[in-house]
């Protein structure tokens, strides 16, 4: 069949050629997008490829996080700030799970749960305690903060963060103080700030680990403090309330608590921050 008639190109062939060009263009675009994605997967913190950012921007526009993490943690050096927590599955860190969900409301947090080879048979609710896997989790650079929880056979909860400058931090109380500072500044009054820390110590050392007698004494102290102010350290909800609430819940003494404590438990629950902790205790 002759393709050319009188030097003129058949209009059907012309249309076919145009279609082929269009398909080739789309293929190149796709190839560039896949290469961009591959680059961000293999080098997690590489700059975002332009072709990828244009196709993903529509999904990520729901995030409008603040970036005062630079102020709290020093200048961002490019890599994702990953908070790695080793916790024993026999003692789930309720306080940290509550603070994690508060961090997620505030920042773009890449949350992952792992099981270390030292433990087996971790219950499913512990594996899903940080919520469903994020749809963009392959692109680490899109997040402000990493939260990696590893269920491990450790005698004491441990946090590793910025290991070049910081020693590993032991104990749920110290880690809770750290996470809370990323959410809200401590009270500026030295006495109130220290009161918060003092309640946090009481929660972890006397409520969570103490004897029945110690627990009863703490409940009395809570009751008298809550008779004077709505929250434990005054008129503001602070880490003191988060820690004491979680430890009262964990020690199972909520139902036997005196009146002011009961009222305060209801106030805490009304805030709606504590569902991650309640879920694990069911």
């Amino acid at each position: 069949m002759p393709m050319y008639q009188n030097g003129e190109v058949d209009s059907a062939v012309k249309a076919l050629e145009a279609r082929q060009d269009e398909i080739m263009r789309k293929l190149y675009e796709l190839k560039a997008a896949v290469e961009g994605l591959a680059k961000t997967v293999t080098t997690p913190d590489a700059d975002l490829d332009l072709t990828v950012s244009s196709s993903l921007s529509s999904q990520s526009s729901c995030f409008k996080g603040t970036t005062d993490l630079d102020m709290q943690l020093g200048k961002d050096i490019g890599a994702l700030r990953d908070i790695v927590i080793n916790a024993n599955p026999t003692q789930p860190p309720l306080t940290l799970l509550v603070l994690h969900s508060l961090l997620c409301q505030r920042y773009r947090v890449l949350s992952t749960v792992h099981v270390h080879s030292s433990v087996s048979g971790v219950p499913p609710q512990l594996l899903s305690c940080l919520g469903p896997r994020h749809a963009d989790s392959y692109a680490r650079h899109m997040f402000q903060l990493g939260f990696t929880l590893i269920w491990k056979d450790v005698p004491k909860l441990q946090m590793k963060f910025s290991v070049q400058n910081m020693c590993p931090i032991e104990g749920e109380a110290s880690v809770a103080r750290f996470l809370f500072k990323l959410l809200a500044p401590y009270p500026s009054d030295p006495a109130v700030a220290t009161l918060v820390d003092s309640w946090v110590d009481t929660a972890f050392f006397q409520l969570a680990e103490g004897s029945a007698k110690e627990r009863a004494a703490v409940l009395r102290a809570l009751n008298s403090a809550l008779g004077r102010t709505p929250w434990l350290s005054g008129s503001e909800f602070t880490l003191a309330d988060v820690a004491c609430y979680c430890c009262v819940l964990r020690s199972g003494s909520a139902s036997a608590a005196p009146a002011n404590v009961q009222r305060w438990i209801k106030s805490c629950e009304n805030l709606g921050h504590f569902s991650p902790a309640k879920l694990l205790l069911q």
């Binding site: 709290q72 943690l73 020093g74 963060f161 910025s162 400058n165 910081m166 020693c167 931090i169 032991e170 104990g171 109380a173 110290s174 880690v175 103080r177 750290f178 500072k181 990323l182 030295p190 006495a191 109130v192 700030a193 220290t194 009161l195 820390d197 003092s198 110590d201 050392f205 004077r228």
Partner: protein
Amino acid sequence: MSLNLTINSSSPPLGALLTAEHVKSSVPVSVEEGKDTRLLVSDSIQFNDSNSICRYLARVAPALGLYGASVMEQTEVDHWLEFSARRLSERPGAMAALAALDKALSLRTFLVGHGLTLADLTVWAALKGHGLWPDPDRSLPHLDRWFSFLSSQVPFTAVGSKYLSKRAPPSRSSMDE
């Protein structure tokens, strides 16, 4: 502002006393002996445990930087405050804690950052108060260097001689191994 710290003289809160020595040029703190350890801050707020007293004193004298310079340093200080109150005070396990301490000090002059913090004060006080160090039977070179470096300085020698000389040295047989 003047603060009044009451201490139980039969078990003096060494960490709190050391911190009081350090802050006394910026915040006057008077110390008197009594039945229980207590720092009265206001009508409704008082602190009864050594770590809370240390935290409060460090916060009212922020220029000294005893609580660290950043959120990360503060977190390290919190870690060592708990370490001194818990791991160095629990009889079984105190020896493992010493080894951990030695390891942490291997690349550091001070426990946190580049200057003295509550971490150094409270850990030193716990070692001294429980008679855990110096220990002639163990060789922990980094702990030894750090401990003698601090022990030779004025606030440490003052507190050590003032509050520990009256007490009998702890008997070694009661120690765990």
